[in-house]
Symmetry: C2
């Protein structure tokens, strides 16, 4: 595991597909990506099945498996995918996953003799609807964005923004799985208890400080047994892939409820992820060194490995866009609020996973690890409105003359992400969009 | 829902069973109880199936369903149980659950003509092994033990033991589902980061302050949809039943990691529940008024109902016992550490459930709601060693001459619970036992 991330023919930046839209330089889904999602024809009652995004299309793996022409090994590995069960495929581990990737890459390559067999297994993404890509058993949310932690900490605790444990522990907490939805999720503005600092008692009201949080979500592949920690050298082998994640947050509810056991109702009303799981294999060309400022504590041995130092980080560019109801009605494009990069995270995905298991906790295929809000170091790079508006004190101007401190009813927030680097083909994540409905009982 | 809890013929304290051991006054499982569990013959590879505890026996519901003689409605409701799926039965709601209870009660009553059909469907509990009774999707842990919160708060925050939100909000946080096990669970002492207050940096060591927490666990029955809060008047209808719950805790890991997002590795290495789910129906005779001290804030309207005031509490007696490895080797009985009563909880089960959903969070059948540590008001009634030993400062003497501040390798902790009241048949929960193994890599 101390060697470089595995690059093979599937990463060749000049590789083209017989699916023409996959060769568009602007597509998120060139043949070098091949992310997995769970889909069906929009508005149908067809069974959900697993597909791979390729250009503007989805390769339906149920149909692709049925078309035959795969090696015995790949056919066996495709079986759970054809049955709509990504979890079972995730559990197979990285070696078999890579052989399936190689087989799909070959079959979708320009000039492949499989084109005639597989053309009938394609569905336009525009004609599909999505479910969560896998069953998420447990969801854990980390806090690896040090610029976020510092800015938010200074709002909640001006004298003590970054707590003493932050640079030693990949801080995390358990989240709510049942309310995770896929891009397109809508949710009612939550009601809850809030208390103004000078108020004598709390009031029960619709949230007034509703926010998004830009995060990366890592999905666990193979499991570890209870009591068997995953060492850093094996941690990458337990990661399947990543999605974009919006950790919607009710700041006023959070401020009143979060002591001493952490956020609860402030976070569990909705969490939105993108539909396509970009595999760790597709990300191999975009790995980057992980280094700490010399003055900072270096990771304890159980959070350190040579691979992690050389390749543990990920050069992944984020952006967040907002489209208000008024913008949508007038056909105005979403407005970009910020950009940041996952390279600025204080802890790597492997460190999150190794830390999670070090006391014996078992992770299962499909478990979700959120990265925490990914804010950049500059003031305009906050991954939440709380940061961009300095706790609601400095409204953001939208191009159509509206302003925002926190989210308003009808707002749609869109997270986007992509990786690009000289010598590699750009790959993207697709949109992770979610929209705020009025609080229950409030007419839109 | 503002009427008294439903008492019917199944609660008649004079009702006897043709299963003789169910008529023993000391049994936890008289015919008035009828709790559900998931079992198979010990050491076998038989499929797991759902049974009902009756005296020293288990009525195997797969065999009981196959024996026939049930009404159409009951036969349909028994089908998921016969298939080993308690979750599907939980989802059916309280009315059908009560009809199945009535049918089982009648069939197991002394003099029932069904005795000959059903005698072959019994297995001795001593010959069975247990799995978790249901699939637990999400696990939430509350903090309703005000005596625990005050004592523990004074150890972590001497100047501020009970935070200002405590008397307004049923404080809770999300827990880890994957590491929940059933009575008999063993786990390795977790390793983790700990930092002494005067140390410059943390160290990575086996936990030195390992503890148990005595809790009640409530299992959700029917679901609520995302965005549809359960009002207090309907909350009882969404509860299926209760188990005992040991929220094992690594105090030294917790102290260093828990700010600002709450406990994480300190809790997620293991959680143990009892195998038998005592239904809300069986608990009907033991409901009690819920009242607040006059000086305390009264619950906000969304946490209040007439039923909750009149019957929301539960008169349920707990005890915790400890058996060390030395005691076990010499055949010495477990030693009782404390007793308490769930009547002292500051919030009711219905308030926990209503609060959990009030922002829109969806609960699903089988979700687990822990009550938080149930300590009594007196000094010797702490529901954890942290409390009983004043943070480890005052060792407890065991009868064999050993002492304890925190748990040692080889210790077994046993939670027990029962309900008794004049005019009702005593019912119990069976044991919730778990044992500490040495830390990984440490020889026993």
């Amino acid at each position: 595991m101390n060697t470089a991330p595995l690059l093979d023919a599937t990463h060749n930046p000049t590789l083209q597909s017989w699916v023409a839209s996959a060769n568009d330089p602007a597509t998120d889904f060139p043949i070098q990506n091949l992310p997995y999602g769970r889909f069906r024809r929009a508005g149908s009652d067809e069974p959900w099945r697993i597909g791979v995004a390729i250009g503007d299309w989805i390769l339906d793996l149920a149909r692709a498996a049925a078309a035959g022409g795969w090696s015995d090994e790949v056919r066996t590995a495709l079986a759970p995918l054809a049955a709509g069960d990504l979890n079972a495929f995730m559990a197979l581990g990285p070696a078999l996953r890579r052989r399936v990737r190689a087989a799909l890459s070959t079959a979708l390559s320009a000039g492949s003799p499989r084109q005639n067999d597989l053309a009938g297994a394609l569905l336009l993404q525009a004609q599909a609807e999505y479910d969560l890509p896998c069953r998420i058993g447990d969801y854990t949310d980390f806090y690896t964005g040090i610029h976020h932690a510092t800015t938010v900490g200074s709002l909640f605790r001006p004298d003590n923004p970054l707590l003493p444990n932050y640079k030693w522990i990949p801080i995390g907490y358990h989240g709510r799985s049942s309310s995770i939805g896929v891009s397109g999720q809508t949710f009612q503005r939550p009601r809850g208890q809030v208390k103004a600092p000078d108020a004598e008692r709390p009031e029960f009201v619709p949230c007034r400080r509703l926010d998004y949080e830009l995060e990366l979500g890592a999905l666990v592949g193979s499991a570890n047994a209870l009591g068997e920690p995953v060492p850093m050298d094996a941690a990458e082998d337990h990661l399947f892939g990543v999605v974009l994640l919006n950790d919607w947050s009710a700041r006023d509810i959070q401020a009143w409820e979060y002591q001493p056991l952490g956020p609860f109702l402030a976070k569990n009303f909705a969490t939105t992820i993108s539909p396509w799981v970009v595999t760790m294999d597709a990300l191999a060309p975009f790995r980057a060194p992980f280094a700490r400022p010399a003055d900072d504590p270096q990771p304890l041995p159980y959070l350190d490995s040579a691979f992690n130092r050389d390749f543990g980080a990920l050069d992944l560019r984020f952006e967040v866009l907002l489209q208000s109801a008024a913008m949508r009605e007038r056909g105005e494009a979403p407005h970009r609020l910020m950009e940041s990069n996952f390279r600025d995270a204080y802890w790597t995905l492997a460190q999150m996973l190794a830390h999670h298991t070090v006391g014996g906790c078992n992770l299962q295929p499909g478990d979700l690890l959120g990265s925490g809000t990914q804010s950049g170091p500059a003031p305009g790079e906050g991954g939440s409105l709380l940061e961009l508006t300095l706790g609601g004190k400095q409204p953001l101007a939208l191009p159509n003359g509206e302003t925002r401190t926190f989210l308003e009813d009808g707002d749609t927030v869109i997270l986007r992400g992509h990786c690009e680097r000289t010598g590699a083909r750009r790959i993207g994540f697709g949109d992770c969009a979610g929209s705020v409905l009025p609080a229950r009982g409030v007419r839109p």
